[in-house]
Point group: none
């Protein structure tokens, strides 16, 4: 469908970040960028693109969505790519054995509109062409998003999944006004703090011999991360939890005068 | 997004016909067919495809939407292509100087669902890659359909326009009510198990000297309980968390067989 009015300035309004995990084909990155531009999204983040970045095929496939392509940010890890987000949804067409809510696109867009309308950052994760997102990637998200596809033919091209979510975002963003007053809860901590908690706990558990069956370690870690993520912890709460871990881990050192300042981790 | 369940039989339910007018690229025909299959559409009609039919590129791009590709019908004129339809909408991103209603995708899907639900035939027209539908083609339609795109970047690829309309069709038809899978979340543990976790953690923290300021102890405990409660843990997760606490708490004793002796609490 032709029809772009190039006389109109493109303005970048607050909108969800789109995070592509290890996309293989530049064409898909480009068509995803174009789909975002169609519905007013512009924050495209790529984790380890197979063919590197910049990618000429992506630029061509974006058909002049330059304002998106020029702003693409590439990351080495998903954790870095979502570090500044406080609401993250993982798109997947497969049911996962994770303790997470499963939302449809409308509910997702409604939640994104409320969150972003209230001035917070949110993002949508999309997986690889061949096998989508890994469970450890899904474990980093607040909830799973899936589309009402025909179960007998559920495989959506990445750019098309991005298009549908961008479309739903635009449909709901007008209605995305924050309530006149909300609850008094503090903001959820940025993802990097949650990831820091994961690392702290897992290192401690490695040291404590928690993982008796090494082959089960990744699953146990996904489950631990999933249950911790659901807590929607604030920065203060994460500091408290890390203090809890350090305190239990170090209690045997306490009689020892040259201990490593455990108070620093504590809530006062 | 992977996830097709090939064990499920594809059934062809009444749905709108998709009519492509003089598509130039086989890839677009194929991706349009795939998009239709994703949302349960199957009646694809093509008017004067530039590269003829069958088209190998279309077949490849359809990625196994064979039940759509095999049923493609090619026509010499648009009039023939829509001969059996009693409701026809023309998709366009440009305003036309025609005395026709302009509908959004939702209203369109609602009307299609009512019309097809009543046993009638309906279809959606899509134009050429470069310049869309001609006015004489739009003139054959009951109304114009346009998408809520960003005016400054309104140009949608044909397959993506087909995808969005197919998605809206499914959302408004019966099939669209259900997601392909729901959440697999287990029940939240009974409160006594959560209280058991509280007790376990708090006893351990008393032993580890976590509560440096006794007067703050009740507040800190309330904060800990509040954040743990928010996790909505299952029984299994509570067992895991208690295992985590015990594991960290006991690690210094593990190498020492006489774990009862006070010395065993000293750092080795």
């Amino acid at each position: 469908m032709a029809g772009t009015d190039s006389s109109i300035e493109i303005t970048l309004k607050p909108s969800p970040a789109i995070i592509l995990c290890e996309p293989q084909l530049g064409e898909n990155i480009g068509t995803a960028a174009r789909a975002m531009a169609n519905f007013g999204l512009w924050d495209l983040r790529i984790v380890r693109p197979r063919d590197g970045w910049p990618n000429e095929r992506a630029v061509n496939a974006a058909s002049r969505a330059d304002h998106v392509i020029e702003r693409v940010r590439v990351f080495e890890t998903l954790e870095e790519a979502i570090a500044d987000l406080t609401l993250v949804y993982a798109t997947t067409a497969r049911s996962r054995d994770l303790q997470k809510d499963v939302l449809g696109p409308e509910e997702t867009a409604t939640n994104l509109a409320a969150h972003i309308g209230a001035g917070h950052n949110a993002g949508l994760l999309f997986g690889r062409e061949r096998w989508g997102l890994l469970n450890e990637e899904v474990a980093l998200a607040d909830a799973i998003v899936t589309l009402p596809v025909e179960p007998a033919f559920a495989s959506l091209n990445i750019a098309q999944a991005v298009l549908l979510m961008s479309y739903e975002w635009r449909r709901h963003s007008e209605a995305g006004k924050a309530l006149p007053f909300g609850n008094t809860m503090a903001d959820v901590a940025p993802r990097e703090e949650l990831v820091g908690l994961f690392g702290h706990l897992e290192t401690t558990l490695d040291g404590s011999g928690f993982f008796t069956a090494p082959d089960k370690r990744p699953t146990v870690i996904n489950n631990l991360r999933t249950m911790l993520e659901r807590g929607k912890f604030t920065s203060q709460e994460i500091r408290t939890l890390r203090g809890v871990i350090s305190s239990i881990d170090r209690r045997h050192q306490r009689p020892n005068p040259n201990r490593q300042k455990p108070q620093s981790d504590k809530e006062e």
